[in-house]
């Protein structure tokens, strides 16, 4: 038995267990929509998976059950005793087929038509059946429910449904299993149930928490014992063991996404064949690692998303051709880590989603009012497809279209604290984006201070830091009405003051009365500056979930315990941007364009483009630690060499551009020093302006085709790259070792 089938068996069995529990509950609460939904999803998942595993018998049976459950879910039927009995028989039928599959890897030759017939019969309301007892089947086909179920005629088995009593029919599927089941079952259970060990997610979380706790305790022990030489050896050992343990626990839980991506090619192939599509599957970022439990949780949503893309997204080849597209559609799966999240995208270049259709359908179904529908943006309307029971598909097909898929996607992703977003352009394609948090992981974060409290800011979203001392604040922070802005390299950056956001309605210190640090954040395409009043060291933090009450605040993605045992809330840059109303549309467009033009040049180096006394030069961005604006008077000289006394340490300043000389004698002049890392020391470069950040292109010497050093192609201009290596070291001795101690690893 292959891996796929084995996993399908384990999962289906779990699903059926859940279904059984729900069914017994349903008997007592027949109106409970949540229970019906849960049962429906169990059956739907089985049906979906069997489709591509090729278990026709199982699929047909599950399909019949799903039809009945669909009626229950839409409220056209109420779960009475006969229906529940019927569903329990369906459960038994599914179970027995699963057992046969587990025993001999095929479905066996059982006969399910009786059971299917009974399930069909149950779909007809009782009164209709009572009037025409002899024409129950005929009644079913002309019942008013029919238009919602156009594919009714599809399974061939239905045509031959006998009019026999259900009691006689139900044992039929069981018979072939029981005959051989007794000898086979013990061995079969051993293969699937014993070879894998399923550990409760809460237990894994607990382990991670305890390891986090141990890390914290270790930090405190290290601090407390540093003075005592006898303890040093012991605490060093404790330190090592803790680090190893932490790594092992983390590693035990991490798996590459290829584990689930690798299942997709088969699904895509089988589905595209049965749907008559031509599809090319592209997979990107297979090595991205994700916590095991999270990986498990996104498997279903991912499968559903892929099925949806094939069924509703990518058009049949002839339609594509007449629309001027490549008859072969593209389905792209992409995984990437973005800060504290893993992004998983399912992209197809299919028909896209018609927003008007969604608007119409949503109003029709009473999901939103017509006025609201008219007001909502396209992007917001698109998100409606995640509402349970919503489907724009013209016909319900065997693959998807009941609207349950997207519902499952959202339910499952949100269960693990993730988010789903859909982006679609009619005629162009659709991208489904799942943002999965690394809730259980340890993430690097910058600790910032505001309101006399510490907050953790995930490094992933942080692109740079700007320091504005109080005396410059009035000039540097500009206002349009009551919107604060900062000119970052000539572009206006919207600012969000963290203290004002967190404590509205209270008088806060003006920017000019305190230090300001702008953390330039990039959250889901929203770019803004978060203003805080202090910075502390970056730290590796253990993310701990917040209680539901505090989650609803929305600005915090968790909490953590810092090295000094202080608690800090973890800021969620995306939610902050939303709450502060930072828009993403414009940025989105820019990003999309960049994405197109730069697609081939992903690996290109990024440079900071600076101007020194009229000439442009480039500094490799990776080497830039920070950019300081300061008065000329801060520059001092050792002999003829300019140096900067920078936070108590000496920084040699390179002035090959003659910036310092140009403003010499003007005591009010402001200069900019780019602080860079060069080997194991730090150097400063004096510049007059910082212009931009851009990706550089390689240049090749004509004739030799050798790559040239020292220059790069930046924004289509040949630009000199500043050679940091030529900055002469300061006189050796006491100054030299200090360079490595400048711990500015910000941004």
């Amino acid at each position: 038995m292959d891996e796929l089938t084995r996993e399908f068996l384990i999962e289906s069995q779990e699903g059926l267990d859940r279904m059984e529990r729900c069914l017994t509950d349903l008997e007592e609460r027949p109106q409970d929509a949540g229970l019906i939904g849960e049962i429906f999803r169990s059956v739907h998942t089985i049906k979906g998976t069997t489709g591509f595993l090729g278990f026709k018998r199982l699929e047909t049976l599950a399909h019949a059950g799903e039809n009945l459950l669909g009626q229950l879910r839409e409220g056209k039927l109420t779960a009475n005793r006969p229906i529940i009995t019927g569903l329990l028989h369906l459960l038994d039928g599914l179970r027995s087929i699963l057992k046969t599959i587990e025993a001999d890897s095929n479905e066996g030759e059982g006969e399910d038509t009786g059971l299917i017939g009974r399930l069909e019969e149950l779909q007809v309301p009782a009164q209709a059946r009572a009037k025409h007892p002899a024409h129950a089947r005929a009644g079913a086909t002309s019942a008013p429910v029919l238009p919602a179920e156009p594919e009714r005629a599809q399974p061939a088995a239905l045509e031959s449904v006998p009019e026999e009593p259900a009691q006689a029919a139900t044992p039929a599927p069981m018979a072939p299993v029981e005959a051989e089941g007794d000898q086979v079952r013990p061995r079969a259970q051993g293969t699937a149930a014993e070879s894998t060990l399923r550990v409760d997610v809460t237990l894994l979380n607990r382990m991670m928490n305890l390891v986090g706790e141990l890390v914290l305790t270790r930090n405190q022990v290290l601090q407390a014992t540093s003075a005592d030489p006898r303890m040093t050896l012991l605490s060093r050992r404790l330190d090592m063991v803790t680090a190893d343990l932490r790594e092992s626990v983390m590693k035990a839980r991490m798996q590459p996404v290829s584990n689930i991506f690798s299942k997709m090619p088969r699904i895509v192939r089988d589905l595209s064949q049965s749907l008559g599509r031509r599809v090319r599957l592209q997979v990107e970022g297979q090595d991205t690692e994700l916590d095991k439990s999270l990986l498990e949780a996104i498997k279903d949503p991912l499968t559903h998303a892929v099925r949806n893309s094939l069924d509703h997204g990518i058009e049949p080849p002839d339609v594509r051709e007449s629309a001027g597209k490549d008859p072969e559609g593209t389905l792209k799966l992409r995984a990437a880590q973005e800060g504290s999240h893993v992004i998983i995208e399912v992209y197809d270049d299919g028909a896209g989603i018609c927003v008007e259709k969604i608007r119409k359908k949503a109003v029709e179904r009473g999901l939103i009012t017509a006025q609201r529908a008219a007001r909502q943006s396209e992007r917001e309307l698109l998100q409606l497809i995640f509402v349970p029971g919503f489907s724009t598909a013209a016909a319900v097909t065997n693959v998807s279209g009941r609207g349950v898929g997207m519902d499952v996607v959202r339910t499952n992703v949100e269960k693990i604290g993730g988010k789903v977003e859909i982006d679609s352009r009619a005629g162009k394609g659709t991208t489904l984006r799942m943002r999965i948090p690394l809730t259980l992981a340890i993430i690097p974060a910058l600790i910032v201070r505001s309101l006399n409290q510490s907050f953790a800011l995930p490094q992933g979203a942080l692109s740079e830091l700007v320091h504005i001392p109080p005396e410059q604040a009035a000039a540097a922070i500009e206002w349009i009405e009551n919107a604060p802005l900062y000119r970052l390299r000539g572009k206006l950056l919207p600012l969000v003051f963290l203290d004002r956001l967190l404590m509205p309605g209270v008088e806060h210190k003006m920017a000019a009365e305190r230090d300001n640090f702008i953390a330039v954040l990039d959250a889901d395409g929203r770019r803004f500056g978060l203003v805080v009043d202090g910075l502390a060291d970056p730290e590796e933090i253990v993310v701990k979930p917040l209680s539901a009450v505090l989650k609803t605040i929305g600005l915090f993605s968790g909490a953590t315990v810092l090295g000094n045992a202080e608690l800090a809330l973890i800021l969620d840059p995306g939610s902050i941007a939303l709450k502060a109303g930072v828009s993403m549309r414009e940025e989105d467009a820019v990003r999309a364009n960049e994405g197109e033009t730069d697609a081939g040049a992903v690996a290109a180096l990024e440079y900071l483009l600076v101007e020194a006394a009229g000439r442009q030069a480039a500094v490799p961005l990776a080497d830039v630690l920070r950019i300081e604006q300061l008065p000329l008077s801060r520059i001092e000289y050792i002999g003829y060499r300019p140096v900067l006394n920078f936070e108590g340490q000496l920084l040699p300043v390179e002035d090959s551009g003659g910036v310092l000389a140009a403003v010499e004698g003007n005591p009010q002049a402001q200069i900019i020093v780019v602080v860079c890392r060069e080997a194991n020391r730090h150097v400063g470069i004096a510049v007059s302006h910082v212009l931009d950040v851009a990706a550089g292109g390689d240049l090749f010497e004509a004739g030799t085709a050798q790559r040239t050093g020292g220059v790069t192609l930046l924004k289509n201009r040949v630009t000199n790259v500043v050679d940091l290596g030529v900055v002469a070291p300061l006189p050796a001795g006491e100054a030299q070792p200090a360079w490595s101690e400048i711990g500015e690893t910000v941004a």
Partner: protein
Amino acid sequence: MSTATTALRGKEKAPAAALVEMCTVRLGSSIFGVPITHILEIVGAARPQPVPLAPIFVGGLVHYRGDVLTTVSLRQLLGLPPGEGRQDLLVLESADGIFGLLVDAVGEVLTASPADHEPNPSILDERRRALFAGAYKLKDSLLVMLDPEQLDPMRLSAARAA
């Protein structure tokens, strides 16, 4: 002391009528009881970390055995002015999970007979009636019982929303 003796005697006579054990907590000048069955741990002098924008009854976050625990400030919940100095923390368990309860001070453990229990008086205002679980008639005073299930932050926020 006298309570304990009576309690013992009561136990000998009728072991079926199980005695109720409760922990008393002080808030300003009032004393409340918390059933001991719901208390996981008592932490003295906690320093909760405030959470901006949280509902008013949230007293902040505390670090408890590897978890970050949401606490409920009994003072803020009952509309009393914020207390001075450090508060004691009770770690409570409800049906939905664990949470912390911040009180001025934790007192002693008392036992009482269920026979002395009376439900909430009807003249009590509605908000308090939801939080209290009746009172025990002690020899010289009434001990108002807090209902840990109702103090759960999840429950409180649902009640406020309603």
